[in-house]
């Protein structure tokens, strides 16, 4: 997969547009958004039948299982794409933690001060380095730890007998469920923040348009 940069500035005098999100990434992202919305709704229904009734428990479980498999398959779409793409550098860990956390706190400072002052963003977005340190750490955790753990614990609960040995090894069904729910709770916090941060582009719609067109909006 090659990095595409459309240099509008030379031909039309417009600012340069960077191709940040290739088709597989955008497809994965929106499928994931749909999948996680359904998983959260059905998950809440499974857990809180006594509090609200959007659908029957039986329907919620069936839907949760099917969508869960879809989201797992979708994760592999993301994983295989990045595995064979030069854009995998977006998820590479930073080998200089001191420098990384300096930039991390600089980014946090930007969101809490510079953003409101109209300062330049401290992180220059590039196709192979599109995440700022805060994003990078969050997405590394979400994609490499949180999502796989949620998938694995979900699979274990989908067919308890099939994964009986593994369930016993980790301490029982209650442990598996607790980990699954803890991951779900983290996702809930993450998704609310993620949706809000999406509005913090140059214009509130900028980042959302980027995830549709693939091109970085002007900054």
């Amino acid at each position: 997969m090659t990095t595409t940069t459309m240099n509008y500035s030379h031909q039309h005098g417009k600012p340069e547009k960077v191709y940040l999100h290739p088709v597989p990434v955008r497809l994965w992202h929106w499928l994931n958004a749909l999948g996680f919305t359904l998983l959260i709704l059905t998950g809440l229904q499974i857990r809180y039948v006594d509090l609200f009734s959007l659908m029957s428990f039986e329907t919620a479980v069936k839907l949760h299982n099917w969508v869960g498999f879809g989201v797992i398959a979708n994760w592999f779409l993301w994983f295989i794409y990045y595995l064979f793409s030069e854009r995998v550098t977006n998820y590479h860990p930073d080998l200089d933690p001191v420098s990384f956390f300096q930039r991390y706190f600089r980014q946090a400072g930007y969101y809490s001060w510079g953003y409101f002052q109209g300062d330049q963003r401290p992180h220059k977005v590039q196709p192979n380095d599109k995440f700022n340190p805060m994003q990078k750490l969050t997405y590394q955790f979400v994609m490499f730890i949180s999502a796989p753990v949620t998938f694995l614990t979900g699979l274990m609960m989908w067919d308890v007998r099939r994964f009986q040995g593994l369930i016993e090894m980790v301490g029982g069904l209650r442990v598996v469920n607790t980990v699954h729910v803890l991951m779900f709770i983290l996702f809930v916090g993450f998704i609310i923040t993620h949706i809000y941060m999406g509005f913090l582009g140059k214009k509130p719609s900028s980042h959302y348009k980027e995830m549709v067109t693939g091109y970085e909006e002007e900054h």
Partner: protein
Amino acid sequence: MKLSVVCISLLVATACLAVAPATFAAEAAPDNPDAKCLKCHSKKLKKALEDGETMILQVAGDEFEQSVHQVIGCTGCHRDVPKGKHPSRQPISSRREYSLKHNETCSQCHAAKHMDYKDSVHANMVAAGDNAAPVCSDCHSSHSIQQRAVYEPVSGEPCSTCHQDIYDAYAQSVHGLARANGNVIREKHIQAPICADCHHSHDITAVSASDYLRETCLECHDGAAVAHEKWLPNAGMHMKSVSCAACHSPMADRRVDLQLYDNLKQVPVAQQDNEGTYQARLEEIDAAGDGLDSVELWKLVRQGSRQGEAIDVTLRGRMEVTTGVDAHRLAPRGQAVRSCESCHQGGANGFENVTVSISMPDGRKQRFEADKKVLNSVVSVDSVGDFYAPGGTRIRLLDGLLVLALVGGLAVPVGHIALGKYLRKKNRKQ
């Protein structure tokens, strides 16, 4: 030697029958030994026992004549009498003691049945000194012993003698009604079970001791496992963690029983071990006697794991009905609990009642009350690791964390927008 005596007795009795008239009477031929016995024992004889009670020694000759043991005669069982040791001169401490002694007599001819009985919950209760536990004569009677076929009709005898309430529940169940109605089940002629078909005749195991009863259900309902898998997620786990009656006796009260289980030996933890009884340990842990809470339950499991040799104790949860009566009120399939919401929601009936149980020597369980909150406590993640019903036994702490995540997640945009407004206002002032 004993066998030869029995054989001789049988031959003598048969020979006597061949020559004696069909009816028993005190005036029977003098060479008929049973007639000799009945000469006295057809009268209202009594014997004073050492415990102050009186034993009736009268035997109904006509009933004995109809019994299957008529062929071996009185001395087939009362073997001391021909040896000149008539028990009239020997003291008998109690009726129970006399019955227990003759229980062994039965085994001399019915060795296989007696071996089955010896491992049964009844025999274990007898061994534990339970005077209400049945011996052979309690079920089969002493002198009116009938063929097996006599017990089969829906009378419930002999089980109903002790288990009348359970038999009444059975009689109104899908099994009992079918049996009384010519065994017609779903327009087919299917032999509906009586007591012994499920519980066996002699090797009667404590129902709570193992999974055998569920296997018994599946012996007849051999398509049940597959049928459940068609609609029930994790059907295998449901069938392991939920007793058949918990769903198929829809009017029953349910509870969750947490049985102490040795994971290494794969057997229930016994009441007695080298360190004393679990009951004593439980009473020590739950000093207030107000039912085990989640921390006390955790202590019980942790302490169990530290006794002497390394053992891995855990609590195995199972939803079941609360009484034997409820277990027998089985309804037709269409009336069974089918709604997932019956269990998978907070406050469901089955999770309101929780017990902790330990295996007793006779195979039954000794139950101790536990606080129902143990099923919703984060502390139970370790101690009640294998029992979890989504929705029904959810951990309350996680509910709190979810609210915190929602509030925290919403606090980010609200806080950030508020910060922006504050800074812009401040900038304007400057």
